[in-house]
Amino acid sequence: MNVIQAVKLYITRMTEESGPGMKVILMDKETTSIVSMVFSQSEILQKEVYLFERIDSHSKWDNMKHMKCIVFVRPTSENISLLSRELRYPKYGVYFIYFSNVISKADIKTLAECDEQETVREVQEVFADYLAVDRHLFSFNIVGCLQGRSWNPHHLQRCAQGLLALLLSVKRRAVVRYEAASEPCARLAERVRDLLRREAVLIDNNIPFNGEIPTPQLLIIDRRDDPVTPLLNQWTYQAMVHELLTINNNRVSLAHLPDVHKDFKEVVLSSEQDEFYAKNLYSNFGEIGQTMKSLMDEFQKKAKSHQKVESIADMKNFVETYPLFKKMSGTVTKHVTVVGELSASVTRHNLLEVSELEQEIACQSDHSKHLQRLKNLLSNEAVRHHDAAKLVALYALRYEKHASNALPSLIEALKTRGVPEHLVKAVVNLLEYGGAHARQSDLFGLQDAVKITKRLFKGLSGVENIYTQHTPLLKDTLEDLIKGKLRENLYPTLGGDDGAYGRRPQDIFVFIVGGATYEEAQCVHQINQTYPGVRIVLGGTTIHNSTSFFEEVKAAMQGVHRTHTRHIRNV
């Protein structure tokens, strides 16, 4: 159940099936991303694929009959008509066509009718129809999947097809469960079930029924049940990079930094191609600094330089003045650049203080203290408007029902501070999106006696690391599922409970409508480590940081009447 491997296997076979010879790969926007997530350009070049073309590009016709063309596109009607045109006036000698999902007979007929020069050698459906972000993490890159609280029909279809492809690509049958309180989850679950039924023959022929292990489960849950996790500042490497610099298809743009080296205007962070990253993506920020420092110390010994490497700024300096280092490893240089920027942001924006309060609001209970500290931070000019709004949003969610809730005055404070309008609105939107009325779980552990005492203890004894107190709700949900304790009335199985409930599933696919986060990806990684035999793959409509999450919420609340925040009159 390694999704990166699954996509790689498909693409490798595409390049092999066409035999030796010069090849071009013709893709659409989405499949281009799908491929670029798992292979670097030089890897593809070694597979004799020399040209990358977009099917929707309008470049001029060329006679390239000496090349073989691998077509890898999503089965959209737009692509079918573009491909028809291509086949009518073929540029390349032969065509090997792969659709990333189910294609209709009618569409194949259309293509056959255009293929008057008999250039098509293969037409296949392969199910590499998702972005494999990490071995256990996938996404569809959709921000704003809900519009006005219900599915955008295109996105619903895309997600359903993608989940079908996911199961086929790793050869798993699965029962579908979903969050009962969420209408979008129910809709998606049904759609997936329909697609699975339609492909029953394909599944029966290719995926043998395995009675040895409990039936794998596909669990569809709603971001609205946990709106807190995407709001928090992160301190593990990958999550932190995404929060502060934004990872887009494994790529991070550093172009906005002053005097960044030209090789690092855009850096690729891929655990498949970068060992340092693979080893450290879940490391704490502090640990990474330590690792780099020890590397640097080693060099320093060699250089017998008297320069002292103490801070990350020193490290950067050191790297720049030590060319051998550069030569030896572009990788480490890249990470020093990235870590350097993270470190600068932390200082610049007072993120330690911000994060500490975020964690305490999310995990502890002390209204008056939290309110006081929040007010203090709002008056601190170093704190970004974005973080200020996030803090108020957290407060709004956490103390929504508190007797002395002071949200209106906090919103007033935001305004006085000069926080832009859209961020102030975001606070209220978020409360509509994921307030108590929208959640079926006990997000803050207000009802569960065990959690209340646990929290009390935390408060009394102090915590190991004040910046990493929070664990996402997903952890509890998954642990319940693994132990066979996830309640059927809250997470019903489509088509009824056929005995799967109570059995402890080993292979689990969990999909978050509204987007997952890297913090949750790390949590899934840890569960996979902790529970032998359990394999969980996490997916989301997208992978959020707090900025994209605000966009998600905005889209979901577009045109929705405020029903739970009407008392807040100053927005």
Binding site: L45, Y50, H66, G93, I108, A112, E118, E125, F127, K171
Partner: protein
């Protein structure tokens, strides 16, 4: 023979492109910069190699630095054990047969018609008279023209025929059309279509095709013939580029097993085995170098083929060159450094000592055992040292034959064979020693 160290340096200063011996790193670098300047990738990696080579010579090794890096970057696979299951490729479904079914049903109709037209075309261009009137007769003989007396409008564009818009005939189907609706097929192109052995004029003729040098056709016939021409062209798309490319790939296919073999031989040397010697491995390295040179040359030829900048063709050629340079750099130039003669001696000596010790221990053990047995059995016949002549031992003979074979195989650089034969030889040696030991006791 030069010392092992000299050997190293010499090898380092051969130009990998033209194999000239430049004696020093700086001379080679400048030679490279002036004569092979387009080789920026290779050049850069060369400089790196020399940077390291120099340090080795100056006994200023940075290898522990490298180790620190490797340690820091080392990926702990254990962390991902849960995903380490053997994963097979996911489900897929082919619709190729369905597509081909639909396609052939459709194309069959065309095919019969196209064939009919091709036969006519063949008759038309074969023995075509040059005199216009004669030619007209010839054409009508092959394809009778439709009687146009009752036709008032062009069937294609529906315009009235008159003095300025005269009636014409398609030379392949005989139908009537006006001049504006006519298309012309160059007669030379037509000849190439009916007889593919005629030199392909894949470029369209540079002159305008007209009544004089072309055949007047209706749109329908023209399209069918054009389609046929394109299918034919795509089947004969073997250009100079393709030839050069295929040669380059075949060199790569040769290099791949060689690199594997080299790594194996190198490891064997480091392990102190005697299967291969340093000369063998050096020869192998030389052979890989030759292949690298060939690949490099061909890929440079490819990038030099004329192509308009920015076109697909130009991008293709650049990409092929880029891939080849990457391959040479990553797979062929980054071969593991060979151990020196002295290093090999040292490893072999250690290995030999270990083996000796083991044999010694074994012997002592056996002796003790025998002593014990003798004690139990009481005094017995004294041992006779059997030192019979060994020369006609069949095992020895066998061993000599194999030694000859090894020499042969080595000369032909069949190192797989060398390895197998060496194993055989070793086994025979063991057998022989066992025999001697048995004879003794």
């Amino acid at each position: 023979m030069a010392t092992a160290n000299d050997d190293e340096i010499l090898e380092g200063f051969l130009c990998p492109i033209c194999k000239a011996d430049l004696k020093s790193a700086s001379q080679l670098t400048s030679h490279f910069e002036s004569l092979h300047s387009e080789e920026q990738d290779v050049l850069r990696s060369l400089k790196e190699i020399f940077g390291k080579a120099k340090k080795i010579i100056l006994n200023n090794d940075d290898s522990d630095l490298k180790e620190t890096f490797d340690r820091a970057l080392k990926f702990s696979y254990q962390e991902h054990r849960y995903l380490d299951e053997e994963q097979s490729i996911g489900v897929s479904r082919s619709s190729t047969d369905y597509l081909k079914g639909v396609r052939s049903a459709r194309l069959e109709r065309y095919a019969t018609e196209t064939n009919k037209l091709l036969i006519r075309l063949d008759k038309l261009v074969c023995n075509m008279p040059s005199d216009p009137n004669q030619r007209k007769l010839h054409e009508q003989e092959v394809v009778p023209w439709l009687d146009g007396s009752s036709v008032k409008l062009c069937p294609n564009c529906a315009k009235t025929f008159n003095l300025t818009r005269r009636k014409h005939h398609c030379r392949l189907c005989g139908s009537i059309l006006c001049h504006d609706c006519s298309l012309f097929l160059d007669i030379n192109v037509a000849r190439a279509i009916v007889d593919p052995s005629v030199a392909q004029t894949s470029n369209p003729p540079d002159h305008e095709t007209s009544e004089k040098n072309g055949l007047r056709l209706c749109e329908h016939c023209y399209n069918l013939i054009e389609l046929r021409k394109q299918v034919q062209e795509s089947r004969n798309a073997k250009t100079v580029l393709v030839t050069a490319y295929e040669q380059m790939r075949s060199l790569m296919d040769k290099a791949r097993p060689d690199v594997v073999m080299y790594e194996k031989m190198c490891q064997s040397l480091f392990d102190g085995e005697t299967t291969y010697n340093l000369t063998d491995v050096n020869k192998m390295r030389g052979r890989i170098g030759k292949l690298a040179e060939g690949i490099d040359l061909l890929s440079k030829q490819i990038i030099a083929f004329p192509a308009e900048p920015g076109t697909r063709q130009a991008r293709l050629q650049t990409a092929i060159r880029q891939a080849a340079a990457h391959y040479i750099k990553e797979d062929l130039l980054s071969l593991r450094k060979l151990p020196t003669e002295a290093q090999i001696e040292e490893v072999r000596r250690q290995r030999y000592e270990r083996a000796e010790k083991q044999i010694q221990m074994e012997r002592e053990r056996m002796e003790r055992q025998r002593d014990r047995m003798e004690e139990m059995a009481g005094p017995s016949v004294s041992r006779v040292e059997s030192n019979q002549d060994d020369d006609d031992n069949p095992l020895l003979e066998q061993m000599n034959i194999i030694r000859e074979y090894i020499k042969e195989a080595r000369k032909e650089m069949k190192f797989e064979e060398v390895a197998i034969l060496e194993t055989n030889l070793k086994e025979l040696k063991k057998e022989y020693q066992l025999q001697k030991l048995c004879n003794k006791s």
